[in-house]
């Protein structure tokens, strides 16, 4: 069968050269190859051995790699939209055995019955809310694929108050103009910072129910964050304090070398 003309491979160019020309070309090609390889390797070594960043809001990452993580965030932020939703599932697909992966901030003595939530405004005022106060707020449920930075995922069912409803209910509009929200556990051992657009995302929830029932203490009762646009490391359990700021609040895992934003 004859192939169509445009599919035909052009014959290679052949030419007669002297041994001297050949050597010259080889010398240039191999010289350039060796030189560029050395430059490439040198660049890699420089990156691999680059000094660690100064420990601050983020830590334990080299300067250039931290910069790359932050640049990625700036780029991806342009694609972020409140309308980009995480896929939701029917309730019967939710895991009955919900994975407990970390006890950071959960090991200190804690009495759920005595729990109160503190909301710190930027002007210094604080609100103190009981569990009943929070249950009075409009309730939202979500069944979604929870994603851990380690690589596992699990379909889980959570219920609570949407963070945006929480803001609305408590008339925290001024605070919602801040750039970040900070959440801290009662023992102050675990703390996360969330950029405001992610906090106000319509699927971000302050949860107190799991699988339609009161959330077990080990999963963060009375109140935990469920934020599907972030990795699990941002889904802080046992919230004690919520605050607002225009600078990045401290973040436990960002201090351990992880991306501060960890957005999905």
């Amino acid at each position: 069968m004859k192939k169509p003309e445009h599919f035909k491979e052009k014959p290679p160019v052949e030419k007669e050269v002297s041994g001297k020309q050949l050597n010259r070309r080889n010398f240039i090609a191999f010289g350039a190859f060796a030189g560029l390889s050395a430059i490439g390797y040198g660049g890699w070594r420089a990156l691999y051995t680059a000094p660690l960043e100064k420990a601050d809001i983020t830590a334990k990452r080299s300067v250039p790699l931290r910069r790359a993580l932050n640049q990625n965030e700036l780029f991806m932020r342009r694609l972020f939209s409140r309308n980009h939703l995480v896929k939701t599932y029917p309730v019967n697909m939710a895991a009955k055995n919900v994975r407990v992966n970390s006890d950071v901030g959960m090991v200190s003595k804690f009495d759920p019955a005595a729990w109160k939530l503190t909301v710190k405004k930027r002007n210094g005022d604080t609100l103190t809310l009981s569990f009943d106060d929070i249950k009075k707020m409009p309730k939202t449920e979500i069944v979604f694929d929870f994603k851990c930075v380690e690589g596992w995922d699990q379909i889980q069912h959570w219920g609570g108050v949407k963070f945006s409803d929480f803001v609305e209910y408590l008339k925290l509009h001024d605070e919602a103009n801040a750039e970040y929200v900070g959440l801290v556990t009662p023992d102050k051992q675990y703390y996360v910072g969330i950029d405001m657009p992610s906090a106000l995302h319509p699927q971000t929830i302050l949860a107190y129910e799991m699988n339609g029932q009161q959330m077990p203490v080990v999963h963060g009762f009375p109140l935990r964050l469920i934020i599907p646009v972030k990795y699990g490391i941002k889904n802080l359990k046992r919230i004690d304090t919520i605050s607002f700021s225009n600078t990045r609040p401290p973040d436990y895992w960002a201090e351990q070398g992880y991306d501060y934003y960890s957005g999905l």
Binding site: E16, A29, K60, R66, L69, M76, H84, K87, W253
Partner: protein
């Protein structure tokens, strides 16, 4: 002496950039995979292999470097993707794709090439720049690269690109595909190295300096190709 131009300068650049980039992507990917290293080869309830054995991880200093792996992976993904996309664009614009894309006959011919390479058959089918097996392998690796980018996007930003996740059959499956494709690269690499060694110096040199020395023997490969 007679030489034949084989690999253009651009092709050589793409190739030698891709090699270290892919190496870094595989290495940093292994640092990430360690965080949830649950994949095994299990048949009829018997586990034949676990990715990866402890000794393997120790040897390559894999354990407890998840955040480091993510940082490298999410930096070099850009260079890996840009180099790959540029290569594909170049191949199309320059017309090099004609030497690369398999023909309908390539699949049957690749079998004959395999038999020839295994010394079971004396003759190989006539070929152009690449033989039928190479056409298939080098085109497949491009498709695999595309697969890695697509599944990679699905894993990296599953909420912003939830339609890509859907395309991959879900987040969980996307991660498995992403991993399996990497195993594919390693398999490709091993075969590739063996073939390069067997093909000899004249061939290897052409990927650095671009040309091959033509031996003094009648050559009518292209003409034969037309008859096929």
């Amino acid at each position: 002496m007679k030489i034949r131009e084989k690999h253009t300068l651009a092709m050589r650049w793409f190739h030698w950039l891709n090699f270290p980039l892919l190496l870094i992507m595989i290495w940093s990917g292994m640092l990430i995979y360690w965080g949830n290293d649950t994949y095994t080869i299990t048949l009829f309830g018997h586990q034949f292999f676990k990715f990866f054995p402890e000794g393997f991880n120790k040897f390559f200093h894999i354990p407890s470097r998840l955040s480091e792996g993510m940082a490298y992976h999410f930096l070099f993904m850009w260079f890996f993707a840009i180099n790959g996309v540029a290569y594909v664009l170049y191949t199309f614009i320059s017309g090099e794709w004609r030497k690369l894309v398999p023909h309908r006959s390539s699949f049957k011919e690749a079998w004959l090439v395999l038999l020839h390479d295994l010394h079971i058959r004396k003759t190989a089918p006539p070929q152009g720049k690449y033989n039928a097996a190479q056409r298939i392998a080098y085109s497949a690796i491009i498709i695999m690269g595309l697969g890695s980018l697509v599944t990679g996007v699905a894993i990296y930003k599953p909420v912003q690109f939830n339609w890509v996740v859907w395309l991959c059959g879900g987040y969980h499956l996307a991660r498995i595909f992403h991993f399996a494709l990497t195993l594919g690269y390693v398999f490709f690499f091993v075969i590739h190295i063996v073939q390069v060694i067997l093909a000899g110096w004249n061939n290897f040199r052409s990927v650095i300096s671009g040309f091959e020395i033509v031996e003094d023997e009648p050559k009518k490969l292209i003409a034969d190709d037309e008859k096929a």
